[in-house]
């Protein structure tokens, strides 16, 4: 609890207002997600201290970086943060190695947390150290930028759409590095994105921003499964399950375990125990009152209805159900909802037609 990040910003710029009061976990990846113009980058810049807004508060654990009520504002260069911009923004006059050392050599030796060589290995840039930024590809530059930020031993890593400048192939190459950071380092990350697939793959905590306000903030699974969100977010209703590859079965199937139960998918090449995320779209989930025993659908889980939203697409309702504690979404027709007399608290069987693995 004491490691939580509290971000309370009131920024006014022309017609645009950012009014957020967020409490974010002190570990894992928190994604700020929303359409362009929703205030994601404004929020991130305020966290970095680039822009100073009145009446704002920003603390990380016991450290206060901004508390205007007490007149406290720590300038950016005294905050232990790393910032990765959309464009890598490497210093063009310095070699890769000297870019990496830039932040590191401005810190006391005791403060340093990572070795340059170890970070270079983690991000596969060890062979680029003596090159100049000019000669690097977009993906290489962005990896150097992340390594540079890490070597400044941040308490907090801020990332502003670090993948948006990369084409799809580079993005696919790059995502595993971000996942590795996520799995191997304990630095909390605040990640700005407008790409749902990045968020689904990387985030643990999700903040939905719309027009300068936080319309939702909570653990990824819970937040995605909310059915009271504005239409902009409800369009492609889906949930993300964090699972562990627990068993390979006959018939070329693999079993994924999650807190609420387990699902089966086509055989995976990963080692047993690997953590995998998968996405289940609301339109791929149907409901049955009795356990279907003669269905071709493999994944049929007992669940309980926890919420129903009638204001979905015309003719449809969005139903939230719980498998154990884990929420799922199902999009069914209004008629089915009425004829099956779906009601909150009712036990049902969720039939999951498709599971998409995020890897």
């Amino acid at each position: 609890m004491s490691e939580d990040i509290r971000a309370c910003f009131h920024v006014s710029r022309g017609d645009f207002r950012l009014d957020v009061d967020l409490t974010l976990p002190g570990r894992g990846v928190s994604a700020l997600f929303g359409p362009s113009g929703s205030g994601k980058t404004t929020c991130l810049r305020a966290m970095a201290g680039f822009d100073r807004a009145p009446d704002s508060l920003f603390t990380i654990g016991a450290e206060i970086w901004q508390n205007e009520a007490k007149g406290i504002f720590v300038p950016t260069h005294q905050r232990a943060l790393g910032y990765v911009f959309q464009e890598a923004s490497l210093f063009p006059h310095l070699s890769v190695r000297r870019n990496l050392e830039f932040g590191q050599k401005r810190m006391a030796v005791a403060e340093r947390r990572f070795e340059l060589d170890a970070v270079a290995d983690l991000l596969s840039i060890a062979t680029l150290l003596e090159r100049m930024p000019e000669g690097l590809s977009g993906g290489e530059r962005q990896r150097v930028a992340i390594a540079r930020a890490l070597l400044a031993a941040p308490r907090l890593l801020l990332m502003d759409e670090p993948l948006s400048g990369l084409d799809i192939r580079r993005k696919q190459e790059f995502l595993p590095y971000l996942e590795r950071l996520h799995n191997e380092l304990s630095i909390p990350v605040i990640y700005v994105s407008h790409a749902p697939d990045e968020v689904a793959r990387l985030a643990d905590h999700l903040v939905l921003l719309d027009n300068g306000r936080a319309v939702a903030s909570g653990p990824l699974g819970e937040t995605l499964a909310r059915i009271d969100l504005p239409p902009a977010f409800a369009d492609d209703a889906e949930v993300v399950l964090a699972t562990t590859l627990s068993r390979h079965e006959a018939d070329n199937l693999s079993q994924l375990e999650f807190e609420g139960g387990c699902i089966r998918i086509g055989r995976r090449p990963e080692a047993l125990g690997s953590r995998l995320r998968c996405r289940i779209q609301a339109s791929d989930v149907s409901l049955a009152l009795d356990q279907p025993r003669t269905s071709s659908i493999l994944n049929i889980l007992p669940a309980t209805i926890s919420a129903i939203s009638p204001n979905d697409m015309p003719g449809y309702v969005l139903v939230q159900l719980r498998v154990g504690a884990i929420p799922l979404l199902a999009r069914i027709t209004e008629r089915s909802c009425r004829e099956l007399r779906i009601a909150i608290g009712q036990p049902v069987w969720a039939q999951i037609k498709a599971v998409a693995l995020l890897a």
Partner: protein, 225 residues
């Protein structure tokens, strides 16, 4: 070339070197401020700095002469400090030349600072660099082409000045008689052969400076980084 000519060449070189060095010191903070400020004074200060580009040197020289003369405010100050009056001395010439060449230093450096943008400085801030540190380790190295252009232009422009020198420096051998004035004297005395040596030398020198500026100027190469 006789001794008087060589003396004029040496004096001109010394003047241009001192003025360029001073302009690096004075022009850099002005350029930095102009490049970064959102103050409404930006337009006014920018216009004042650019004035010597359009003002006849005699006008600038006249006002400086009045200001630095025994009755002028600057003259009274320097008098009170025991420095005497500045017109018709080498230091007076230096001060006048600094004003006269100011835009040639400030504008290229200001453009170079503006071309850097906020981003590299923000990056440096997130990497623990203080404002002073950022200025020296990021802004100055990235603006190097601007400093190079500014220094070359200021040097060459000071070498080439004539009107301001006549107004403020007069024509005292080895103290204020620079090459351009020496050429004028030779022509007045109908010593065309000697005028040719100096004039030709100036032509070659100026051409070489401009050639260097236009061939090696890396300003464009760094763009879009």
């Amino acid at each position: 070339m006789d001794n008087a000519d060589l003396g004029a060449v040496w004096l001109t070189f010394k003047l241009a070197a001192v003025v360029t060095a001073l302009l690096l010191l004075i022009g850099t903070p002005i350029a930095w401020w102009l490049a970064r400020t959102r103050s409404r004074l930006k337009g006014v200060i920018g216009a004042v700095v650019a004035l010597p580009l359009v003002l006849p040197p005699t006008v600038l020289g006249f006002y400086l002469l009045v200001a630095m003369g025994p009755q002028g405010p600057v003259g009274q100050l320097t008098g009170a400090l025991g420095l005497g009056v500045l017109p018709f001395t080498f230091p007076g010439l230096v001060i006048a030349s600094v004003f006269y060449s100011l835009p040639f230093m400030v504008q290229p450096v200001q453009n170079a600072f503006e071309a850097i943008g906020e981003r590299p400085l923000e990056v440096a801030a997130t990497l623990r660099a203080s404002p002073w540190d950022r200025f020296w380790t990021v802004a100055v190295p990235l603006a190097r082409p601007g400093f190079l252009s500014g220094a070359m232009l200021s040097f060459a422009h000071t070498v080439g000045e004539f009107g301001v020198v006549l107004m403020i420096g007069g024509n005292i051998p080895d103290r204020t008689r620079v090459v351009s004035v020496q050429i004028y004297d030779h022509v007045e005395a109908l010593e065309y052969a000697q005028a040719h040596w100096l004039a030709g030398g100036m032509l070659v020198f100026s051409f070489l400076v401009m050639l260097a500026l236009y061939s090696f100027n890396p300003l464009g190469r760094r763009a879009n980084q």
